[in-house]
Amino acid sequence: MKQQLVLVGNGMAGMKVIEELLALAPERYDITVFGAEPHGNYNRILLSPVLAGEKQPDEILINPIDWYAERGIQLHCGKAVTVVDRDARIVRTDCGIVQPYDQLILATGSLPFVLPIPGRDLAGVVCYRDLHDVEQMLSASRQFRNAVVIGGGLLGLEAAYGLQKQGMAVTVVHLLPTLMDRQLDATAATLLQQTLEARGIKFKMAVQTSALLGTERVTAVQFADGSSIPADLVVMAAGVRPNIALAQRSGLGCERGVLVSDTLQSSDARIYAVGECVQHRGQCYGLVAPLYEQARVCAAQLAGNSEAFYQGSMTSTKLKVTGVELFSAGEFQGGDGCDSIVYQDAGAAVYKKVVLRGDKLVGAVLYGDTVDGGWYFQLMKAQTSVAALRDSLLFGPVSEAEGGGQQAVLDWPDDKPVCDCNGVCKGKIVETIRGKNLQTLDAVRAHTKASASCGACTPMVEQLLAAAVGDNYSAPALPAMCSCTTLSHDAVRSAIREQKLLSLSQIFQTLAWRHADGCDKCRPALNFYLLAAWPGEAQDDSQARFVNERMHANIQKDGSYSVVPRMWGGVTNSHELRSIADVVDKFQIPTVKITGGQRVDLLGVKKSDLPGVWADLAKAGFVSGHAYGKALRTVKTCVGSEWCRFGTQDSTAMGIQLEKLTWGAWTPHKFKMAVSGCPRNCAEATIKDFGVIAIESGWELHVGGNGGIKLRGTDVLCRVETMAEVEEYCLAFMQLYRDEGRYLERTAPYLERVGLAYVQQRVVHDAAGRQLLAQRFRDSQQHFQKDPWAELASPASRERFIPIVDLS
């Protein structure tokens, strides 16, 4: 016998619970839904585009009536639940339907606030809340001329914009002297008012409405000072109140909203409540992102996951008025104990303010240029220290400014590719987001593959997602490692260190992993974190390594492998070349190529030949080049002072020395180095993770370069005089990156995340700290610097490279 689940409220929050629940536990409940409105559920945040004529009502439907039937959900449309009998565990409607429940969800939303003034019942006076209101407003716009919107908040301005687009003469009436006072400071509000005035909307600020005049239909709005203005349509947009009437009648604990715990349960454990009707930790929310977060937790609870908790949301605001760019979040007003940093360009109507408390970003208001809104919001939610970014904070994330125009992607034609790895164009992404109602980046990745490979297009995909989902899209604060846990990479790392976890199974047990053996995303990361934290002690699990690191060769598109022997500093000799040639002949290797890192790549080696290839190469003195690993790859060099007429130092010897010190070291992602013998920089050291350039007085050290996914030139770390110093700084930097870089995070994004000043502090200014880091690197090399090829070429290990049995 299935349990009976009843949902009261067929809106965005309630139906999100049902959708999530169907995905988690489709067979667990018989579901009945009551909705007061006579439709399937629709996306309320898109009402403004409907009013403005930019969308049709049927374009904002989330689930049509058929959708419910196909899933066996009983839907009662246009029926209002009037009674919840908690003793009998039944609900009753105004039309006499009686429905028993085992679990009940209240998602009754909110009600618009109607000013208690004379004339509020006249024809032509509407609220702005649902599709019916929008229809009334559209119908009035076809017959009448003068519209007055009471309320200069988010909703009021969107209503004003919509009505004006429908051809009405619109006046906005506001009680306070500035618009959107809950979201904007005075400067931004003034700019907004100027923009809207320039478009023809009139404003009457700091006035109190005292009455609506007229006999049958409204004709004018009267103010407390006795003045009045003509009106054929009055829209009340003075705020909303949680709709708690049913909950109160049913004896549930209520204050402003229905009181719920972190599990979204009301004072009756069988009754959950989500959405705008809810008060959680003192907060009521009216934006979609927090409602969806609540819905996800509620669904998980109903599916039997008692570990799912809602801990409140931080919200941000945008205005859905085409062509007006406005963003606000957090403590945007600033004030005591806060620092505000402000940028203002009156001519261009651009205003930016960020508010800091200590070294944390706590609020932001952007007007005119909101491209960086998401980034600020991210920094706020993650509570990242922005001390190092302070000087450049108002100019946004530097790399993205260089990457150029996130904004631009919205203007691209549909057939232009966004994700070049998987060949996914913009139209396909937008269509899939809309068609499947996707809400998260992960979902977009799963359904379209866009941003699922190299990740370079992630900001653009997020931008498309934000545009499609509505303006309340926000990326998760500190994303969980994967779907096996709610913990972030950083949280897991701290736990490994603090609790001295030494194996994957210990992590899975101690940190309550959802899947007994993790997944292909978390296992390789965790294996690295274990080795990095406890070299020599942690258990290395080869089954947690990606195939390349398990096979110690690079898997190619046809399932064959490529083998790259290490060639120290790019230097070789006739004996080595001859041995390689012999291996190529003996194993009939089809392709031999010089890599970009000055080595020889043997491509097309059969898996079963790998041990043989390695054994022969080992005989000639080669070790593995780790061309496959999240590890030190290569140290590129030029010929330096030994041969070059410009060379100032022996860059080749320096490169060989660095490679001999660091080969075999596991790092969060691949790690590349280069050493140039003079500032002409022939070894291209300025696009490497660690670059060294010889100068007359010694060496200039560079960090955080990337020639790959996103081109990034290095930052100069410092200058040093001796080779011994180069070594120490190099090892210290690698160790710092190994300690703090997240798995699959190259040094370039790592450096941008923590800031150059921080790295300089740790590696340059703090001499004792540097020595300690370098020493820790050397210590861990005792465990890591072993040639994997030598171990695997032994006859005992060869078994795993051949079929267990050959029946062909």
Binding site: A446, H447, A452, S453, H515, A516, D517, G518, C519, D520, R523, P524, Q543, A544, F546, V547, R550, M551, I555, K557, D558, G559, E799, R800, P803, I804, V805, D806, L807, S808
Partner: protein
């Protein structure tokens, strides 16, 4: 169970947990997987996406992630995990007394029947 030839293909302990071994057959390479719960599964060693060698993938739960483009294939059904769509032929497999037996289609059956084995 369809009439099939049960063939001993080796000892369970020679297949690493959360890993696999390959059996070469006239039908192509078959990957025999062993997961962390010691369940054993057999799939054609060819990802439905671009033909990647599933045997080299990371095994987690009853899934294997293809090493080429990380498609996840269900070990017990051969189906790609949604939203990806595709299916790889699977083969009956059982463990008796520590020995792994693979059920190959009877000699009269053709390759065309590979998809229907169960």
């Amino acid at each position: 169970m369809l009439d099939s030839n049960w063939l001993a293909v080796g000892l369970l302990r020679n297949i690493p947990p959360q890993g696999s071994r390959v059996v070469r057959t006239e039908h192509g390479e078959i990957a025999v997987f062993r997961n962390s719960a010691d369940e054993v599964f057999a799939l054609l060693n060819r990802c439905p996406h671009r033909g990647g060698p599933l045997a080299e993938g990371i095994v987690h739960g009853r899934l294997v992630s293809c090493p080429l483009h990380a498609w996840q294939v269900q070990l017990d059904s051969g189906e790609a995990k949604a939203p990806d769509i595709g299916c790889v032929p699977r083969f009956p497999v059982k463990v008796v007394g520590g020995e792994v037996y693979l059920g190959l289609p009877a000699p009269t059956t053709s390759r065309a029947r590979l998809n229907t084995v169960d």
